[in-house]
Symmetry: C2
Subunit: 451 residues, 2 copies
């Protein structure tokens, strides 16, 4: 537990000698008056404890975004890493360059070509997952108080990173076709009028996390035009782009502008997250800063992990494997959408993703997803409440449902359980009125037996 509420204490507590420290193992934070400003916002999420419970096998988790790595040919991967050590051990086990393995960066350019990107390996930086690319981009661009534009809702991990660097996130609304260009233009104009400094637009154009919607080709062009006109950098985060269920992927925004877009990619969803290999493709000057930031942050990524991914791409039919993943996730999406259709009470609505991992569900008026979570976990199903995907207080009427990890029969069972909980909530609402307020404190009270 964080002790953020005691952090207002001054430098010294009167009457306590300076050298006194709480006994070892104490939960009192002796460093409370010494953290950096940015650390004061680092507080454990209130739903964290609940997710620990939700990871038990009897709970159907529609919460996590874990890819189904069991679909990989594990025997092949095992041989491949053994072969890597035998042939290139002294390189795989040694420090690498801060920018990342040169051959892997060439291979990454091959992967990006599938989305219409023509890039040079020299403009790529390999990172510890694309999360680190987000961290480094934020590190080099954000001073406290700078504004970041992001879809509302947006990826919880990005919002956490922006907040760790004390950025102000301003959300731009989406609809089923993705970010709304007119809303973006209005937001930029509105902020300009107040003198706020916008550093970049952060967007997930494909199968957005958490909304599951995809930005249309026409809107990509419009949004790029708006950002070019405003001289606004775009951070295009694209972990799911190759996991579309219908035909070829749309060209990336980066395919149309090499100088105004930093593109983030990842092998976590197309291969496996366990290597933590992601990347940033950036305009040259930004790439130089990224490498310096990378070196300062971790010196270099794991050579072993990078070469393992490189060996996989060089020797395995990776495009075929992505097709396998696509078919698998399509079947799970269908299982989720069909069960929602069949089982959810009237008043619930949801998005219909054309790829990726997530469905975004909207609850009937008066229901609060955070209040429902402990009851759902008690009924052995978990989801992520919508509030985590906004920088402010929005989102309580929404939840994110992931279909990537559980098998279809488990997905159906999970939806059945969740529908039961929501029906009960609706009955309570109809009997006692809105359950929102009761709900808000639900997570922190020992009310429902979660064990």
């Amino acid at each position: 537990m964080s002790h953020g509420h005691t952090e207002a204490h001054g430098e010294h507590v009167p009457g306590v000698p300076e050298e006194s420290r709480p006994p070892h193992g104490s939960r009192i934070d002796a460093y409370v008056d010494r953290y950096a400003m940015r650390a004061r916002g680092m507080i454990a999420s209130e739903v964290r404890a609940l997710f620990a419970v939700a990871s038990r096998p009897e709970v159907v988790s529609l919460a996590g975004g874990m890819p189904y790595v069991t679909a990989l040919p594990l025997d092949v991967v095992g041989e491949l890493v053994a072969d890597l050590v035998a042939r290139r051990g002294p390189v795989a086990l040694q420090y690498g360059s801060g920018q990342g393995d040169a051959h892997l960066r060439e291979q990454i350019c091959e992967v990006m070509r599938l989305e219409g990107i023509d890039a040079h390996a020299d403009d790529v930086v390999v990172t510890v997952g694309s999360q680190q690319a987000l961290d480094l981009i934020t590190r080099i661009f954000i001073d406290p108080g700078d504004v970041v534009l992001a879809e509302g809702p947006s990826y919880v991990g990005a919002l956490g990173t922006f907040s760790a660097y004390q950025a102000t996130v301003v959300h731009v609304p989406m609809d089923e076709y993705g970010l709304i260009p007119e809303a973006l233009a209005e937001t930029i104009t509105g902020l300009a009028a107040t003198g706020r400094r916008i550093k970049f637009l952060y967007t997930i154009p494909n199968y957005q996390n958490p909304a599951g919607v995809t930005l249309t080709a026409a809107r990509r062009a419009e949004i790029l035009r708006i950002c070019q006109r405003a001289n606004l950098l775009i951070i295009e985060d694209n972990p799911y782009g190759l996991l579309g269920f219908d035909g070829d992927p749309l060209p990336a925004i980066r395919a149309s502008d090499a100088d105004g877009v930093v593109y983030l990619g990842s092998f976590s969803k197309t291969l496996a997250p366990g290597f933590r290999v992601g990347w940033a493709l950036a305009p040259h000057a930004v790439r130089e800063k990224l490498v310096l930031a990378m070196e300062s942050a971790v010196l270099s990524h794991s050579s072993f992990a990078q070469l393992a991914v490189g060996q996989y791409l060089a020797t395995q039919p990776w495009r075929e494997q992505i097709k396998t993943f696509r078919e698998l996730y399509r079947e799970r999406r269908d299982a989720l959408l069909t069960s929602l259709e069949a089982l959810m009470p009237p008043g619930c609505t949801w998005t219909r993703p054309g790829g990726g991992f997530f469905v975004w569900m909207t609850l009937p008026e008066g229901l609060d997803s955070k209040a429902i979570l402990p009851r759902a976990v008690n009924a052995r199903v978990a989801f992520v409440p919508g509030t985590g995907f906004y920088a402010g207080d929005e989102g309580s009427q929404h939840m994110r449902l992931s279909y990537c990890y559980p098998e279809p029969s488990r997905i159906r069972e999970g939806v059945r359980r969740l529908a039961g909980v929501i029906r009960e909530e609706l009955e309570l609402r109809d009997t006692f009125g809105s359950v929102t307020n009761r709900g808000r404190s639900g997570v922190d009270t020992p009310g429902p037996n979660l064990a």
Copy 2:
């Protein structure tokens, strides 16, 4: 090349329309007016280009700190990673927890026991090398302008990280017995008088990088007492502690104080850097912040890398392997010290490390190590000039010589070449006076043919 010198430009260049950007591939930095304050100090080191040349095989590099991983049983490592995928593939390839694999954290506690540390796995965070631990500690403690105390000279990677977070580094002098307690006490008192806020003392007590000296047991106790009295956190960075050439390691400072010390460890030198597995052991409240910072920075470290290290520790005679490394490095240290003794001109002095990777050499009056570097590379030997190991302008009369990577015969040849270059410099000095000024610009001019 960085363009730091143009960063003083204002928000807009008069006469240039906002939407204009330099053409793709241009080396002009279109983002120059948009970086965060902290990024302005991110400038590529001037000796960087030189080290690219120094990595050619004909150059004896006494510059890098790369461990000699070829001494590992590569066949065993290959089998081990293949076995890992076969037995635990779905875990090794999946996301892990932000704090790191629980079993590996237990094993890390075993390793730390060798230095007298009694720790609980719950207080350990696994990081992407101990460099990331340094980055995260700095992230949670340092506001711009805060003071960090560090030995003078100190690890270049730590100084880079402190500077990336805009800390002010104040050096505390060392002698052959390590950090000088009286100097530390005086520095703390002096800073207190000026009202500066010191956030922590950063120290490498064993076989210090770059000085090669070790803090005596008596001084460890004294320094701990001084820091406790001043309520000053100690960051004890200990990558080389198990690589001592004479008997058992000294107890870590952390062995005497669980609440006032954050201990950083690494498998980069006792196993291999290619997995990038390091750790921080921290007081409970600090550990909680570290996990949140870790998640924000990279979500989690590579499960594959962590489990590979865990499997190595569980199945291999790792203590024996460390002995093998020790003997290997001892032989190389002896080769370096013996050659220095035999070949260096009078006026050169150097430290005599009892373990680790580095010797710190002091040049005769009037010689400048940065000026000598291009001449040395031209003579096919490389080292790191002393200036990189100070936050300020000091260090030009020093150089760091690493004996970890080249074989003994190569070390002797490298010293022979370096001694030749230094003799020539001495002759120039004796003929023309100090060569310092000529030297300062040497790196940036095309004078010596480095190709």
